[in-house]
Amino acid sequence: MDQRLPLSHVKVVEMSHMVMGPTVGLVLGDLGADVVKIEPVGGDKTRKLRGSGAGYFVTYNRNKRSLCLDTARPEARELLLKLIAAADVFVENFRPGAMDKLGLGWEALSALNPRLIYCSTRGFLDGPYQHRTALDEVAQMMGGLAYMTGPPGRPLRAGASVIDVTGGMFGAIGIMAALEQRHHTGKGGRVVSALYESTAFLVGQHMAQYAVTGTPAPPMPARVSAWAVYDIFDTADAQQVFVAVVSDTQWPVFCREFGFADWAEDATLAVNSGRVTRRDLIIPALRESLGACTKADLMARLERCGLPYAPIARPEDLFADVHLNASGGLLDIAMPDGAHTQLPALPVSLDGQRFGVHHPVPAPGRDTREVLRELGLPDVEIDALIARGVIA
C-alpha cells in the first residue's frame, strides 16, 4: 500500500464517547484521517468504565489525538470553533439539542465552515422517536434483533455491541459519501446514523423472509434450518465444533469422510431440499459419529475435506489465533497505562495490506499542546490556558 493512507488528507474533530461515535472516528482514523478527539478535562468517562465496558476506550480510540477542553468555558469553545473551522469532518454523539446549547450544532458549525461534514450518531433518525434516548441494547430489543437471537420467549442481546458498531460504520460510510459529494458541490453536509435504523437494516432479512414465505421468522435457536447440516456438535473431549454442509457437492465429500458412503449414494439425499426433510435421520447419526472424534481430529478431517467448520472460540482465544496473527489481523496496541495488548485491525485490506496503528491510544490530553500549536497558539498561551484549567 502507498505510504500515504487513503484518508490522510482528511481532518476530523470527534466529540463523542462510549462506542458508536468513537467507532466512526476509529474507522476514519484507521484509514488515515487525522482524528482529534475532544475530551473533557480529566478525560472521557468511557476510560473509567468497568465490567463489560472496560475495554471500550482502548478498542475504539487508537489512531486518534486527544485534546482535553472544558467546553463549559467560553475560551475553550473558542478554541474548539477554531479547530472545527479548519476541519473537514465533525463527529458527535450527544443527545439531540445538547450540541446546539454549546453553540456546536449543525447550523452554527456549517455557517462557520460551509465545507464541514457534520456527523451525528443518534438513537433514531428523524421521526416520531427522534427525541427518545436509546442505547445499543434498547435498539436490539425494539428492533427485533433480541427476539431473533434468544430462544423463544427469552429475548437476548447479541454478544457484542453490534448495533453501536454497525451504526458507527454507517456513520463513517455516510461521511465518505459526503466527502465524495463535496468534491462536486464544494459544500459539506449533514450525516446522521442511528441505532434503531441500523438494527432494522440488519433485521431486514427476517422481514423479507416473512414477505417471501408469509410465515414470521422464528428466533434463531428455533429456526427451521435452511441446510441439512448446519449445527454444533459435541466432541469426545468435551469440546464443541460447528459443522456446515451447505452445497450438494460438499455432501458426498462429507459422507465419505465420516463413513456414510450409503448416504452419498442415496438419490433422495443428493439435493439440499431433500436432505433438510431428513434431518431427523441425519443429525442424530452425525452426533454419534462426530461425537466419537476429538476436537482436533474432527477439525483436521473437515479441513482436509475443505468443508466449513469452526471451533467454538471465546474472545480471549483470538489472541493466539494462527490466522489473525499471521495475516496482520491483530494490531499491537499500546494502552495509555503503558501496557500492550493485541486487538483486531479494521477488517478490510487494500491492495493486500491491512491498516495499522499510526497513533497509539492516547492518554487524556496527550496531544493538546501539539494540536493547539498547529492552530497557531504560542506555548505561553497554552501554558496559561492549562494553568486556568481551560485545557489539559
Binding site: V41, G42, P74, E75, E78, A363, G365, R366, T368, R369, L377, P378, D379, V380, E381, I382, D383, A384, L385, I386, A387, R388, G389, V390, A392
Partner: protein, 218 residues
Amino acid sequence: MSHELLLWLHVLTFALWFGTDLGVFTASLATTDPKQSVAVRQYAMQLLMKLDLVPRLAMLLVVAIGPLLAAQWLGVAVATWQWVGWCLLVLAWMVLEAKIHLATGAPSAVLVNLDTLLRVVLLLGCIVLAMQPQVWSVTPWLSVKLGLLATTVACGLGVRFTLAPFIPAFGQLVTTGSTPEVEATLQRSMNHSRILVLIIYACVLSAAWLGVAKPAWH
C-alpha cells in the same frame, strides 16, 4: 466618610487579603506535591488561579482606603474630589488587574507592564511618603507601615519573577506528565516564591499590629 467606617473597611480588606492569600498559598502546596496525581494538582492549580484574584483586588482596596485613613489620622484635609478621584484611580487599577487575571490564555503584555509600572510607582510613593519629616516625626509607626507596604509590593514583584518558569513547567506536567526535570523546575520556582510570600505575610501582620498599636517611640 467617618473614620470608624474607613477603619472598619481597612480591617475588612486586610482580612480579605490575608485570608484569601493563605488559601492561595495552601493550594500552591498541592500543585508541587509529586505524591498527588496530576489531576489533583491540576485541580489545586485551578483553585489557586480562581482564588488569586481576590487577594490582588483586596490589596488594591487596602491601597485605596489606607491613604484616606492616614490623612484623617494626620489631620490633613482631603477634598471630596481628591478622595473620589483617588478611589476612581484605584478602581481603574482593579479593573486592569481583573482584566489581566481573567484574560483568555496569556494576558496582554501591555497590561501586565502597565500593572508592573503602577506597582513600582506605588512602591516608590510609599518610600517617599514614609521619609517625609511630617510623617516620620509625628507618626513613625505610619512610616514603618508604609515601608512594610513598599516591601510587600517589592516582594510581590519578586514573586512574579520567581514564578515565571512555573506556568510553562506546570503545562509540561499536565501535557507530558511528571519528569524529574519538570518537578525540579516546579519545586525550585515555588520554593523561591514561598520565601517571598512568607516575607509578605510577616510584613502584612507587622503592619496590622502597627496600625492597631500605633506605638510612639520618640
